[in-house]
Amino acid sequence: MASAPVSTQETGSAPPLVSLRGLTKRFGSFTANESIDLDLHPGEVHALLGENGAGKSTLVKTIYGLIQPTSGHMLWNGQETVVRSPEEARALGVGMVFQHFSLFDNLTVAENIALALPRSERLETIPARIAEVAQRYGIVLEPQRRVWTLSAGERQRIEIARCLLQNPKLLILDEPTSVLTPQEAETLFQTLDRLKAEGRAILYISHKLDEVKRLCDRATILRMGKVVATCDPRQESARSLAALMVGAQVKDVQAASNRVFGEPRIVVDQLSMRSPELHGVALKNISLSVSAGEILGIAGIAGNGQAELFAALSGEVVANTPGVIGFNGKAAGLENITQRRQRQAAFVPEERNGHAAAPDFALSENVVLSRHADGSMTRFGLLDFGRARSLAGEIIGAFDVRKAGPDPAARTLSGGNLQKFVVGREILRNPSALVIDQPTWGVDAAAAAAIRQAIVDLAAKGAAVIVISQDLDELFEISDRIAVIHQGELSEARPASVITREEIGLLMAGAALAH
């Protein structure tokens, strides 16, 4: 039962709901948070900004009781408080919506919600409680559906409903819009506005600066585990916020001039395929064509067939007939990934660790993994590690990969640097066709800009490129045409200069494919 909302108070003059004082968290020799001071007031939406690895997640996990600070303390309504577990945090009035949802795919919506409620709550009463939240906040959920059948937006609504049922005074949202369509995000913002009006405090983690400007009253910016600034995001430009986050100006991607497209290089003709995964998405009748020099962007919410499409294009899953996939005019549907690489195609999967690179292998060994296809890695039938090492060095130089030691294991590199390395490994081959899935996912801004520039430059040299991404800004920045994948169906690709964000949003939600 949601009780009367906390009284709305003037931001700034009232005592803060939460105060962090000198909060420090060390993992061994690594300092994730260093003497953080932060005040959250009732009725305030407070943004926590920072690059990946800046310490945002560690900080909110500390507030939520998942992590104990090394030193420093937390005040709750002016009282010094130690939160030992998430259960204690929830009892205090802290709710958290996780970035990677903390949901259980094979359980029902009601069961998922029950798990976060106090033990005294009876399972039979959950559907009624869900209906109550639906009425109050317009969050509609079907209690008996299993989570794996739901879209990302619906899953997030479960997380939010789960928090709201506990009547939180502080709601923490970790990158909540990264998996939503623009329309779903707008619905979320309206809910948040309403929660704010009820006098709840909201801590909003994001790296989407437009959202932060739209939604937040104050912003705290973290860099390398320290607070570098606290400001009013409405008074700042997206550019100045980005500069605060990164500590330097981020370069814009330079588009190539006078683009000329050549003959089709990647052609997919009515590809249909079942997913090998348990809860995967089947591909339905996908057709596309990318010409030399062109970049095709494929937008879509996570889990709508992107992974399956990548697997089909790369040959990790082989098609039934040769003609459905063609590279450079040759039918390649029955070929495996090595044979496709020998046709001058290159592939960069989404997951860096464990898919694009073997985490425990040295960088030179990781070079061999994809480069063995062109035969340059062997001498007299044996692997030529001297050649591999020099090639790794070339990639490291050309893509400014920062690393420790001469030839370290892949897992020791930061996300951005490893991504630059695996992208560089494929691009330095000068492929005539490149398929790249989530090129800058979880990569810091500077590395993301470098990767996008490399993709644009490759296309300018005459390669056909497919970029699968959930980041619409990225797709608009580098694509010539954009198509949308929704539940395994691909919309018609349209010029990026013509298609609007709203249209893409509707396609992402499956609206335009219905008729």
Binding site: K61, S102, L103, E111, R119
Partner: protein
């Protein structure tokens, strides 16, 4: 065929199925919590040896059964320490447990080879147990048979209807999410493993106290492995474990009758029949269920609480 003979065959099928049911439903709980304990065979054989020894020395079948349970739990605690406490590889730890169990049981039972004791008394309700055809089948079994049914019903109810059961399923489904919500993943898993060990020990005790009331090394004869396979074949659902155990028990009993009737097939082939039937059922079901199977999401993955 004579209805009495049919009843007799059905009774032997049910008793042959009972150790599989008890061990299988225990392992089901373990796997639902996300742990794969391949040591069922080892825990069973230790339960059989210790159970028989305790019953022989004290003359009490109840003490024997309790000792079998305790020894199974002790074995599983060792596994839990390795696989949960130290996050060791579950497959390797489980196989090691089986090998350890076979050796330990041989050692503990060495002085009891060739000894015999009476089986436990069967239920007798005047009137009901004398009913034709169903009397002995339903009202005249040994207590373990009823215990097996009660265990299956209890586990089914626990998983489906209680909050603790829901928590256990959640831990098995996604341990990272469960941890993020503040559930004590390792504690829950350890308790599940102990329950599995108790069941496996009891199933072993059934063999040496009731089914064939003596001890001989290797007397579990791969039943622990069959119980493991049944859990998968049953898609981790308790009542399907019961059905699968009846199928396997049925095949075991029928092949014995077929051998006795000497139908002209080699005995070795007939002995392999139950295993073949189980493999076949597994293949058919898993091919059909491939996309809809409900294997617990974190099954077999060691859990290490991160930052």
């Amino acid at each position: 065929m004579n209805p009495d003979i049919i009843e007799l065959v059905l009774i032997t099928i049910v008793t042959a199925a009972t150790p599989l049911v008890i061990a299988g439903v225990g392992e089901l709980v373990v796997e639902r919590s996300g742990v794969l304990n391949l040591g069922v065979e080892g825990m069973m054989i230790v339960g059989a040896a210790i159970g028989f020894a305790a019953a022989f020395l004290t003359g009490s079948a109840l003490i024997g059964a309790l000792a079998a349970i305790a020894s199974g739990m002790l074995m599983s605690a060792l596994f839990g320490l390795l696989a949960i406490g130290l996050a060791a590889n579950q497959v390797a730890s489980g196989l090691a447990l089986t090998i350890l169990g076979l050796g330990t049981a041989g050692l503990a039972g060495a002085g009891f080879v060739g000894q015999k004791r009476d089986s436990v008394p069967h239920l007798y309700i005047p009137g009901l147990s004398d009913l034709p055809f169903v009397g002995k089948l339903i009202f005249g079994q040994d207590p373990f048979v009823y215990l097996g049914v009660a265990l299956v019903a209890g586990v089914a109810w626990f998983l489906r209807r209680t909050r603790a059961g829901l928590t256990l399923r959640a831990v098995g489904e996604n341990h990272a999410s469960a941890h993020a919500l503040g559930m004590r993943v390792r504690r829950i898993r350890f308790l599940a493993v102990l329950f599995g060990g108790a069941c496996a020990g009891l199933a072993g005790g059934y063999l040496s106290l009731v089914y064939t009331p003596f001890w001989s090394p290797g007397m579990t004869a791969g039943r622990g492995w069959i119980a493991l396979a049944l859990v998968v074949f049953a898609s981790w659902r308790p009542w399907r474990v019961y059905a699968g155990a009846l199928l396997f028990g049925g095949a075991t009993v029928l092949q014995l009758h077929a051998q006795a009737a000497s139908i002209g097939l080699p005995g070795q082939l007939l002995s392999a029949l139950p295993y073949l039937a189980t493999i076949l059922a597994l293949v058919v079901l898993s091919a059909r269920d491939r996309r809809g199977s409900i294997a617990p999401g974190s099954l077999g993955a060691p859990f290490v609480p991160d930052r």
